[in-house]
């Protein structure tokens, strides 16, 4: 568990270092995720410690959004200026985005002859 957590931090650190040095517009943890995926694909298994740490963290993923979400308290004024435009746009655009994504994905899967295995 602790070794697994250290591995996760190590890959995050490598990701942060590469993005800082190269200036590519990707957050360090996202690059760290890609590198860890590459590493486990290479060794063809997930070490038990890494799996335990990963499952522990992902179980509490919603909680991890709370501190940043409370930060909305600081954007009150900016949000108020265009509140109706913002609310309507976010709701309608999110509906479109969800619908187009699922329909395109399902359509293409049929086209590619991939059966559903839900």
């Amino acid at each position: 568990m602790l070794e697994g957590f250290a591995v996760l931090l190590l890959f995050q650190l490598i990701g942060e270092l590469i993005t800082r040095l190269s200036g590519i517009p990707v957050p360090g943890p996202v690059l760290g995720m890609a590198l860890l995926l590459l590493a486990v694909l290479l060794i063809k298994k997930v070490p038990a410690g890494v799996r335990t740490a990963s499952e522990g963290l992902l179980r509490y993923l919603p909680l991890l959004f709370v501190p940043a979400g409370v930060g909305l308290i600081n954007h009150g004024l900016l949000l108020k200026q265009d509140i109706w435009v913002i609310s309507i746009t976010l709701v309608v655009s999110t509906i479109f985005t969800l619908i187009v994504t699922v329909l395109v994905l399902q359509g293409l899967k049929k086209l590619w002859g991939i059966e559903k295995d839900a």
Binding site: F5, L9, F11, Q12, G15, V26, P27, P29, V30, G32, M33, A34, L36, L37, V40, V50, A53, S54, E55, L57, L58, L61, P62, L63, L64, F65, V66, P67, A68, G69, V70, G71, L72, I73, N74, H75, L78, D82, W84, V85, I86, I88, T89, L90, V91, S93, T94, I95, F96, T97, L98, I99, V100, T101, V102, L105, L108, K109, D117, A118
Partner: protein
Amino acid sequence: MPEVIFELWVYMAASPLLHLLLTLLAFFLAQWVNRRAGGSPLLHPVLVAIALLVGFLLLTDTPYATYFEGAQFIHFLMGPAIVSLAVPLFDHRERIKREFIPLMLACVAGIITAVISTVVLVRMLGGREDTLLSLVPKSVTTPIAMGIAEQIGGFPALAAGIVLITGAIGCILGPPIFKLLKIKDHAVQGFAMGLAAHGFGTAQCFSLSNLAGAFAGLAMGVTGLLSAFLIPLIMRFFA
């Protein structure tokens, strides 16, 4: 207030312990409220917890920076949590490999829909131009969205707030839309949620199934990567 309690409050309010503990308690309370409400997405535990904490900070006149000194210990875990998404992706690698091209094309279609519908709606409703530029990266995971907003001329701080609200809206709208369109495949549901509602959607998907969570995490990562290149490009046509 008796003096002893006042002194205790002054001490507690300045220590990270209080706000760290309050964040956990607010989350437990929010989960309990959500269960009592039959798991309604309108009372999403994250939203209820945020509302409780915002209310508390306003009532006690506590600045966000003071709150964050305690809450940062939870916030910090976001980094390793994103890295750990590699594990569910590895578990479902066969299926991802098989569906790779449809997944990538659906991702591009989703990003274009998100951006163009936002531009058209804001212009139609008469919103301000800098509001528009902060709204465009709304479906992208926060750190990338802030970078995109800055690059195209929006406000990064407002963009970060918008991203969170979009995530919450996606969590509320996703389940009824899937029901309406009769989408039962957890992989498809997860992919759409990760694309439209980034980490918020991904978090919700892991409570559905590991498969939904893996595809949501995949969509979140790919949407972030592609958006960083696609959004500035698309916005050139609308400038």
